[in-house]
């Protein structure tokens, strides 16, 4: 029965559609950037390549569920996931981990900045949605 209740929870909750669509757009932006850099990275360094692949999947799933009105746990998961992505990007700009990342240079590139700004905005939007839900 708990499944039904949870489903009831999700569909009953509508939230502010504009905020949800905005958050979804941010998730898709981050997804698109990770997809863009995925092929060139993947053929050379598998670890970052796999990471970008997982980020693209995560942001895609989050974006779609935002379009449909996500439940509380989806929002929480989305927040943690994006915080992790932002944290990893930031750490690898300050700490050189060439054996893992394939780069000894700590490049702060345009795509990285846009993606990180989108992810931070996404975290804030998700927090707002989570707040308005309660």
């Amino acid at each position: 029965m708990s499944v039904v209740i949870e489903r009831h929870d999700e569909s009953a909750w509508t939230g502010d559609a504009t905020s949800r669509y905005f958050a979804a757009a941010l998730a898709f932006t981050s997804q698109a950037i990770h997809l863009w850099i995925l092929p060139d990275t993947f053929v050379v360094t598998l670890l970052p390549g796999l990471f970008f692949f997982l980020v693209a999947i995560g942001q895609g799933l989050l974006g779609v569920s935002l379009l449909f009105g996500p439940g509380r746990w989806t929002l929480r998961l989305g927040i943690s996931f994006n915080l992790l992505v932002v944290a990893l990007w930031t750490i690898t700009r300050f700490v050189s981990l060439p054996a893992l990342t394939g780069s000894a240079q700590l490049n702060v590139g345009m795509l990285g900045i846009v993606s990180t700004v989108a992810e931070i905005a996404l975290v804030m939007s998700l927090l707002k949605l989570l707040g308005s839900e309660q």
Partner: protein
């Protein structure tokens, strides 16, 4: 279970956007990696092709004690696999390149012309060479019609600057008789350029060696062992990220799976021939073994082993003759190392086939070449108990400085580093004083053949204990299969900037290199 229309669209979108698009994007790269990992060479019968010996180059002129040579680096079409034509990038268009033979104290001047489509830099491995002629990785020789703007990245830190079309290298050869080799050293692209064929022997002889009754003439044979992969049409296959070698450097991540990373071939070439065979008499032969492979380390042995005595008697190392011969039943030879050994075929009966095997290899790469004892002959050579006069190694007690360098390989295509740094042609990582003695400690994870330019060193300890069985004599390349070694060297006779690096060429190109400047 019943789905609403809304749930149905949600699931559809999740599958499409969440999984479909990322999977579609990654499919191409995955294909490229899988394809690269699945290239297999056309099958060749082993021990059919006779062992070639690279031709010895004649100087174009001689003035006093200086011999002048000219070499053109160009494309050539050669038959490596029987029935196939292979394009090589060779010194004078051949692979291995022509052998330079000279004597201690005779200066060699080589004009290297570049007619290849890419920049090159030529290094004499084991040479005690002034910095301008050492082939610093960014001291490029550009093809005549290539502009600096066509080069990937930016070129910095040069020692002697950039040349166009050709460059003159001067080798004083004020050093002991030894087996050296020359090869390409272009920054970021050494791996593919050596692989395509830019490697040759350079042999220095001297009076001390001449006076020894070691096998000589036809019985003094250089063996350049190198593994390669060929595509179906007989061309060499190297998994470059950008096969033009004019864009991004590095290899596909498929070369970085597993513990031993780098480019490994499935066909073993000796002097450019696949698993060759050599006819010998039942006498002693001297083999100057060079591992010119990009990444493969060999454990060489003879099968069957001789009826008595050891398979190999080592008479020399990277830096020339040992003071006393060392018997071995196997030889561990990592990339760029040289082992000068005598094999005595009198311990085999005429008609025997003796295979030089690689105990570290599985399948096709477990064989290297074969000797066939075809005739009896009178023995004229001998291995004396004293070879060179006692070697004058620097004493660790005289060391002014101890430096430590940690060689860490990249994971799954990550960058390989020394002390956490990728190569920067401008950064100086050590500054030994001219004439000073230093101890350098190398740590390796997992396995790295470590090479120092300019100097020869003595291994003083391995993993805290005494040096290993393959550490004897003067060395310029030392193999670490994990663990650490300490070496002692005296930094002489030139001031200037030189590199030291891992000689796994894929590691080197993936930044496992550093500079020292003798000040």
């Amino acid at each position: 279970m019943k789905f609403t229309r809304r749930e149905f669209s949600k699931l559809g979108l999740m599958a499409g956007v969440g999984f479909g698009i990322p999977l579609g994007t990654v499919a191409g790269p995955v294909d490229r990696l899988a394809e690269s990992a699945s290239v297999t060479s056309p099958r060749v019968e082993k021990f059919e092709v006779p062992l070639p010996v690279p031709p010895v180059l004649e100087p174009v002129r001689t003035e006093g004690t200086t011999d002048y040579y000219e070499i053109t680096q160009r494309e050539g079409a050669v038959e490596i696999l029987p029935g196939y034509e292979t394009t090589v990038w060779g010194y004078n268009g051949i692979f291995p390149g022509p052998t330079i033979e000279t004597r201690t104290g005779r200066e060699v001047v080589i004009e290297q012309r570049n007619e290849l489509p890419v920049p090159v830099s030529t290094h004499l491995h084991g040479g005690v060479t002034p910095p301008e002629s050492d082939g610093f990785p960014t001291d490029l020789i550009l093809p005549p019609d290539l502009s600096m703007d066509d080069l990937p990245g930016h070129v910095s830190g040069t020692v002697a600057g950039i040349s166009r079309g050709s460059k003159e290298y001067r080798y004083p050869n004020e050093q002991r008789a030894a087996t050296l080799w020359y090869h390409d050293h272009r920054m970021d692209f050494t791996g593919p350029q050596v692989y395509k064929g830019l490697a040759g022997f350079y042999i220095i002889r001297d009076d001390i060696e001449d006076e020894l009754p070691l096998p000589h003439g036809e019985k003094d044979v250089p063996l350049m062992i190198a593994d390669r992969i060929f595509t179906d049409d007989g061309e060499m296959y190297y998994p470059s990220v950008d096969p033009s070698l004019m864009g991004d450097h590095g290899v596909l991540a498929s070369a970085s799976l597993g513990v031993h990373t780098g480019v490994f071939g499935d066909t073993i070439l000796v002097n450019g021939a696949p698993w060759p065979r050599m006819e010998v008499s039942n006498t002693k032969y001297r083999f100057r073994i060079l591992n010119a492979s990009n990444a493969r380390t060999y454990e060489l042995a003879l099968e069957p082993s001789p009826s008595e005595g050891n398979s190999f008697v080592q008479v020399g190392s990277d830096g020339g003759l040992l003071s006393e011969p060392i018997p071995h039943d196997k030889l561990l030879v990592s990339p760029a190392e040289r082992f000068d050994v005598v094999v005595d075929f009198s311990h085999y009966s005429v008609g025997s086939e003796v295979t030089l095997v690689n105990r570290r290899g599985e399948g096709r790469v477990s064989d290297v070449m074969q000797f066939e004892v075809v005739r009896e002959e009178e023995e004229r050579s001998e291995i004396t108990s004293q070879l060179a006069p006692d070697l004058d190694f620097p004493s660790p007690d005289d060391a002014e400085v101890t430096r430590r360098f940690i060689f860490l390989a990249g994971m799954l295509g990550g960058m390989s580093t020394i002390n956490g740094n990728g190569y920067d042609p401008e950064r100086i990582d050590a500054d030994p004083r001219l004439g000073s003695t230093e101890i350098w400690e190398f740590d390796a994870d997992p396995a790295h053949p470590i090479h120092m330019h300019l100097v020869h060193f003595k291994v003083i300890s391995r993993d805290g204990g005494p040096p290993g069985p393959y550490d004897a004599g003067w060395k310029d390349t030392v193999y670490l299969d994990g663990g650490n070694v300490r070496v002692v060297a005296t930094f002489t006779p030139y001031r200037g900037k030189y590199v030291f690096h891992c000689h796994n060429l894929e590691h080197e190109d993936m930044m496992m290199m550093a500079n020292f400047e003798v000040v």
